[in-house]
C-alpha cells in the first residue's frame, strides 16, 4: 500500500509539474483549441448548409476534432521534456517509471477533458445539436474518450519525443490504435444524442472502458523502456 501511495505521489508531482508549465507557457491548450475549432469549421464548410446532414455528422466531427487536436496536445506536453535534457533527468530519478507514465497521462487527460468539453459545446452551437438534453452520457463519453486518447498519446509521444520527425510520426502511430476508441466514442455520442433508441449506449461505453484499461495497463508496463536512451 505504501508503494502505491508513493507512486501516486510521484504521478501527482509529474502531473502538477506539467500543469504548471502548461499554465505558464500554454503550449498545449491554446494551439490545440484553435486547431479543433478550425477542424470543426472546415468540416462544417465541406458538408454544406444542410442542417440535418450537419446534425447527423456531428458525433463524427466532434470526435475527429478531439482526436486530431489531442494528438497535438500530447505532443506539446511531451515537448516540455526536451527542455535542456529534462527527459534524461526525469529518467534518472529513483522512482517507478510507471508512475511517471501515469503522471504524464494525467496531465494529458486534463488537457483532453478541457478540449473535449469545449469541442462538445462548439459542436452544439455550430451544428445546432441539442447537447444539453443528453449532457450526462455525453460527458461520460468525453471523460472515457479523453482518458483513452491521453493513455495512447502519452505512450506514443514517449516513443517519438526523441525523433526529429516526431510531428509526422505521432499521428501515423496513434491513429490506427485509436480506431476502436473513435468508433466507440462516435457511436456512444450518436446514441446519446438520439436518446439511445436501440439501447446500445451501455455497450459502447463498455468498449471505451475496456480500451482505456488495456491502454493504461500497457502504457504503465512499457513506458519505462521508452525512457532508456539505448
Amino acid at each position: 500500500m505504501s508503494t502505491l501511495r508513493a507512486e501516486a505521489r510521484i504521478a501527482l508531482a509529474v502531473a502538477r509539474k506539467d500543469a504548471l508549465a502548461e499554465l505558464r507557457g500554454r503550449h498545449a491548450t491554446v494551439s490545440t483549441l484553435f486547431f479543433a475549432a478550425v477542424v470543426l469549421l472546415l468540416f462544417g464548410l465541406a458538408l454544406g448548409p444542410d442542417a440535418a446532414r450537419l446534425a447527423a455528422a456531428a458525433p463524427g466531427l466532434l470526435w475527429l476534432a478531439v482526436v486530431f487536436a489531442g494528438i497535438l496536445a500530447v505532443n506539446r506536453l511531451h515537448l516540455l521534456e526536451t527542455d535542456d535534457g529534462a527527459l534524461e533527468q526525469l529518467a534518472l530519478y529513483p522512482v517507478a517509471r510507471r508512475a511517471i507514465y501515469v503522471g504524464k497521462a494525467l496531465g494529458g487527460f486534463a488537457v483532453m477533458l478541457l478540449l473535449g468539453v469545449l469541442v462538445l459545446g462548439a459542436v452544439g452551437v455550430l451544428f445546432a445539436v441539442d447537447v444539453a438534453k443528453a449532457w450526462l452520457p455525453l460527458l461520460v463519453t468525453v471523460v472515457l474518450g479523453a482518458a483513452g486518447v491521453a493513455a495512447v498519446g502519452t505512450f506514443y509521444a514517449g516513443v517519438t519525443v526523441r525523433l526529429r520527425a516526431r510531428e509526422a510520426m505521432l499521428p501515423l502511430l496513434m491513429l490506427p490504435v485509436l480506431a476502436p476508441l473513435l468508433l466507440g466514442a462516435v457511436k456512444a455520442s450518436a446514441a446519446a444524442l438520439a436518446g439511445d433508441p436501440f439501447d446500445e449506449l451501455g455497450a459502447w461505453l463498455q468498449l471505451l472502458v475496456a480500451f482505456d484499461v488495456i491502454m493504461i495497463v500497457a502504457g504503465m508496463a512499457t513506458y519505462g523502456y521508452l525512457l532508456e536512451d539505448g
Binding site: R9, A13, K17, R24, D83, D84, L92, P94, V95
Partner: protein, 257 residues
C-alpha cells in the same frame, strides 16, 4: 553568495574502508554506431574518494559518467556502483547516484523554486520546502527563486542543477565539467561542494580537461584517451590495463570489429 556551510545530506555511509568500491568496472565498453566511445575499461574507485576524469574531447569521460548513472547501457562489460550491478540493479543504483551533465535537465517555464520542488518530490526529500529554500540559498539563487529558469544565464542554470543534487542523498556524485560557464563565485561554490561531499564520505568523479583549479581537492586522477584508461594515479584508484597485442583475451574493440 553561497553560505559558508553547505548542507549535504548523504545516505548513512559507513567508514569508507568498510564500504564496497564506489565504482568497479570490468572491460566496460560503449559503442555508438559501431564506434567505441569507451573501449573496455577496468577501473576501481574506493568509496569516499574525489577523483578527476581527465582527457581530451572524445576521450570517453562523459560516456563513462552516463553509464555509471544508468542514462545509457553498456555495450559490453560489467560495472557496479556501491556493489550494485548497473544492469541488473539499475533502480537501486539510481537511488545512490547524482549526475550533473552538460544539459541541466531544468524546465524553462518553471521557476527555480518550482524546479527544485519537483526534484524534491521525485527524490523523496524529507522537509522538502525547507530543504529547497536551503539549497537555493546554498547555490546563491535565493533572490531569484521565483524567477523563471527561461531567463537564467548558463551559469545560473548550472548553479540550480547543483542545488538539485543537494536535495538528494547520493553516495556517488558525477560532475561533468562542473566549472564550465560559472563565474568566480560559482567556481568557489563547486570547490565548497567538493569539500563538503568529501567530509561526509561521498564519492565524487569530476570530468574535466584539466585539474588546475581543484588539484588540491583530489585524491586520484584517471586519464582517458580514445576510450581507454591511459593513466590512473593517486589514492583509491586502480585500473587494469587493456589486453596487450598477443594477449589471448580479445579486446572489446577487436570483438566489436
Amino acid at each position: 553568495m553561497p553560505q559558508t556551510t553547505i548542507y549535504v545530506s548523504p545516505r548513512s555511509l559507513g567508514a569508507p574502508d568498510t564500504r564496497p568500491p564506489a565504482v568497479a568496472t570490468t572491460d566496460l565498453a560503449r559503442l555508438f554506431a559501431g564506434n567505441p566511445a569507451l573501449a573496455g575499461i577496468s577501473l576501481r574507485v574506493e568509496a569516499g574518494r574525489t577523483v578527476a576524469l581527465l582527457g581530451p574531447n572524445g576521450a570517453g569521460k562523459t560516456t563513462l559518467l552516463r553509464l555509471l548513472c544508468t542514462a545509457i547501457r553498456p555495450s559490453y562489460g560489467r560495472a557496479s556502483v556501491d556493489g550494485l550491478d548497473l544492469d541488473r540493479q539499475a533502480a537501486l543504483v539510481r537511488e545512490r547516484v547524482a549526475y550533473l551533465s552538460h544539459a541541466t535537465g531544468l524546465y524553462d517555464d518553471l521557476s527555480a523554486r518550482e524546479n527544485l520542488r519537483f526534484a524534491a518530490a521525485m527524490l523523496g526529500t524529507p522537509d522538502a520546502a525547507g530543504r529547497v529554500d536551503r539549497a537555493l540559498a546554498d547555490v546563491g539563487l535565493a533572490s531569484r527563486a521565483d524567477d523563471r529558469v527561461r531567463d537564467f544565464s548558463a551559469g545560473m542554470r548550472k548553479r540550480l542543477a547543483l542545488g538539485r543534487i543537494l536535495l538528494g542523498s547520493a553516495s556517488l556524485v558525477l560532475l561533468d565539467e562542473p566549472y564550465a560557464a560559472l563565474d568566480n563565485d560559482g567556481m568557489s561554490l563547486v570547490d565548497q561542494l567538493l569539500v563538503a561531499w568529501r567530509e561526509v564520505g561521498v564519492t565524487v568523479l569530476v570530468a574535466s580537461h584539466s585539474t588546475g583549479r581543484f588539484e588540491a581537492l583530489l585524491d586520484g586522477r584517471v586519464t582517458l584517451e580514445r576510450g581507454l584508461v591511459v593513466d590512473a594515479s593517486g589514492k583509491g584508484v586502480e585500473s587494469t590495463p587493456p589486453p596487450l597485442p598477443g594477449d589471448p583475451r580479445p579486446s572489446v574493440v577487436e570483438v566489436a570489429r
